[in-house]
């Protein structure tokens, strides 16, 4: 059963990712990206990472993609965007690089004994004891509290930057 869902979501993720980069219309591209994110969150559920799956849907598929759509619609990007790679040689080059990457990744996944560590059982015992949210929250608010606080300063700087660079009137 798990295997069936894995292949279902994996195929969905890969297919919609391919559709995303091949679509000429940016809005359609974004919609396919949303589908990819949903499929990925399905994969997270299979890995027992329920919390990350939920966050994936809420943050990525929800908030960020809506922003993407808004920006694309506001910029009024039509469907007439010319492709980046036009010359034959460049196409061949890009294609062969992509092919080489696929070959290398496939060999890694098939040949790597370490990938068993990522099997669903790796998280099961932790989840059994603490639940998905607590397993994540404990390191975040204990061991990595400093990192968490630095992140908050980082976000503040980003907000200040957005205001400074985008405000309408010069002082």
């Amino acid at each position: 059963m798990t295997e069936f869902f894995f292949f279902l979501f994996a195929a969905m993720a890969i297919l919609s990712a391919i559709f995303m980069v091949t679509q000429a219309n940016p809005v359609a591209s974004v919609v396919y990206l949303v589908v990819t994110f949903f499929a990925l969150s399905g994969l997270f559920v299979i890995l027992d990472a329920h919390f990350i799956a939920a966050v994936q849907v809420i943050v990525y598929a929800g908030a960020i993609m809506v922003l993407f759509l808004f920006v694309i619609m506001l910029l009024n990007l039509g469907s007439g965007v010319p492709t980046d790679i036009r010359r034959g040689l460049a196409r061949m080059l890009a294609g062969s690089v992509a092919l080489a990457l696929i070959v290398v990744l496939t060999r890694l996944v098939l040949g790597d004994p370490g990938s068993e560590a990522l099997a669903p059982s790796a998280l099961a015992s932790v989840l059994e004891a603490k639940g998905a949210v607590r397993a994540l929250a404990e390191p975040l608010f204990n061991r990595y509290l400093v990192a968490f606080e630095v992140t908050s300063v980082l976000l503040l700087v980003a907000v200040i930057g957005a205001v400074v660079l985008a405000r309408r009137r010069a002082p």
């Binding site: 370490g114 509290l145 400093v146 992140t151 300063v153 700087v157 200040i160 930057g161 400074v164 002082p171």
Partner: protein, 515 residues
């Protein structure tokens, strides 16, 4: 006081300088909003003075940490290396603030956000030099970088500034991706982000996943190489430095470089020292290229700001020699070099910003004609900074290069040492060309504005520091030698030179006169 990091409140003490600086930045932002609202007028002069006061308080807290606090292993280190680097960073910030006030007024950018962002960038730098955990290294680096991207594009009505900001942002985000990917690979193999634990795995080198470990270390190195602008990862630097407001250029040239180099030294020269066989060769080539290429390009620059930008890339090459040496003395020499580099680079960019005039229009070589006679003090200051950048005695630049040479030769890197000398000889041409224009050619046609008090104070501190470090380098170097060997978790620390303990009076107060 001894911290063991068993409770998170210990971090409040260990990160006291960073915390105080961040509080100063928040205070400036908040008070500025209440005072100015959204009226389009410059902020009060107090914003700059508050930032200066915040920097001084952070330096005092740093001194207190140095004298009173010891700590066990944690996410951040409380060791001499970090605190000495903090002094260099805070001196750089203080001087940059002193120089910025005049410039920001002139270009109508005198707003509280500028000073707050400058302080927050410094907080990021200080987190970066303290980090003992890959996660914190990434966060410190990003905090620093994002604040500096914004500062680069701060003058958004000027297309050059906006372009530089965008370019720097895109390349910087690309570099962060390298770093993050490297961290992800290391975490994937070791299941830990603590550098010491990662290093254990690198050293024991269990067969499975070794390729991933090496790839992770390599990506980490590339990420750092982007940040310190080492050739061939330097393409962004001249454009970003040239386009940024000149008050920011000096700061980013010294601050970003210092922080990234100290983190590079901590991760590679100390923690990854057991795996030196793997990375020394790469650093060797980076150093070689970074010494040769920018010096050649700088020869043909007619724009002084761009010339100084290439010169700053070349100095990264000299510093990389200190990294390649990989010894405690190499780290001490690099710290000393960074301190001198901070003073001379900030001074040179500050005088350039004054000569360039409103809108940064006069930055060509021809605009410096006769400057030494028309404005003797200004010309003499620039003379000192240029001679120091070139590495003439009796300036600090000479002594700093000498120490780097000694570290390289002690470590057996003779080829690098010879290249350093030859590259310096090459650089004489473009530094001395400016001096020639200043003293031996007649009159440029524009008037150079007079400087204000804080500018004169900053320039005097820089010049005095450069000369002092050139004439009496001993005490400061001894402080740095102690700092270079007082590092948490390094096997290299055992080769430490006899050096005073932190409670001894020898205070490695880095930037000479500043803090």
């Amino acid at each position: 006081m001894i911290l063991d990091f068993s409770s998170n409140t210990d971090y409040l003490v260990a990160l006291l300088p960073e915390g105080l600086l961040a509080l100063a930045a928040f205070g400036i932002l908040l008070a500025d909003v209440f005072q100015r609202g959204d009226r389009p007028e410059p902020s009060g002069a107090w914003t700059a003075y508050a930032a200066i006061a915040g920097t001084l308080i952070a330096a005092a807290a740093n001194l207190w940490l140095l004298l009173e606090v010891d700590a066990g292993p944690g996410l951040v280190a409380v060791d001499g290396f970090r605190l000495a680097a903090n002094f260099i960073l805070l001196s750089g910030t203080l001087l940059a603030l002193l120089f910025a006030i005049d410039y920001q007024r002139r270009e109508s950018m005198h707003v509280g956000e500028f000073y707050a962002l400058l302080l927050l960038a410094t907080v990021g730098m200080m987190v970066l030099v303290a980090a003992q955990d890959l996660l914190l290294i990434f966060l410190g680096l990003e905090l620093m970088s994002i604040a500096v991207y914004i500062l680069t594009g701060f003058n958004r009505t000027d297309p050059r500034s906006a372009e530089a900001g965008l370019k720097y942002f895109l390349v910087g985000a690309f570099a962060s991706a390298f770093l993050l990917y490297g961290i992800a690979l290391l975490y994937g193999v070791t299941g830990n982000t603590n550098i010491a634990d990662v290093v254990d795995r690198v050293v024991t080198g269990s067969a499975e996943g070794e390729v991933m470990l090496l790839a992770g270390v390599l990506l980490l190195l590339i990420g750092f190489a982007y940040k310190v602008a080492a050739v061939p990862f330097h393409m962004w630097a001249p454009d970003a430095y040239e386009g940024a407001p000149t008050s920011v250029t000096g700061y980013m040239a010294v601050g970003v470089k210092t922080a990234a180099f100290v983190a590079l030294l901590r991760v590679f020269s100390v923690q990854l020292a057991p795996a030196a066989d793997f990375w020394t060769g790469i650093v060797w080539w980076l150093a070689m290229l970074t010494m040769i290429v920018p010096n050649l390009v700088a020869l043909v620059q007619n724009n002084v700001k761009r010339m100084l930008a290439y010169s700053s890339v070349a100095h990264a090459g000299y510093l990389l020699v200190g990294v390649a040496a990989g010894t405690a003395f190499g780290r001490a020499a690099a710290l000393f070099y960074l301190a001198v580099y901070t003073l001379m680079t900030l001074g040179a960019f500050a005088i350039l910003s004054l000569v360039a005039g409103k809108g940064d229009r006069h930055m060509n070589l021809a605009d410096f004609r006769g400057l030494g006679w028309r404005r003797p003090a200004l010309g003499f200051g620039l003379l000192i900074f240029l001679l120091s950048l070139a590495g003439f005695p009796p300036t600090g630049g000479f002594v700093a290069k000498l120490y780097i040479l000694r570290a390289a030769i002690d470590a057996g890197e003779v080829t690098l040492a010879v290249t350093l000398v030859l590259a310096s000889l090459l650089s004489y041409y473009y530094y001395l060309r400016v001096v020639w224009k200043m003293y031996f050619e007649e009159g440029a046609d524009h008037d150079v504005a007079s400087s204000n008090g804080s500018f004169r104070l900053g320039a005097a501190l820089c010049a005095a520091g450069v000369l002092l470090l050139g004439l009496l380098p001993g005490p400061v170097l001894r402080g740095f030698e102690w700092a270079g060997s007082d590092i948490v978790g390094g096997a290299a620390a055992t080769t430490a030179i006899e050096a005073p303990r932190p409670d001894a009076p020898a205070n490695p107060s880095a930037g000479g006169p500043a803090p």
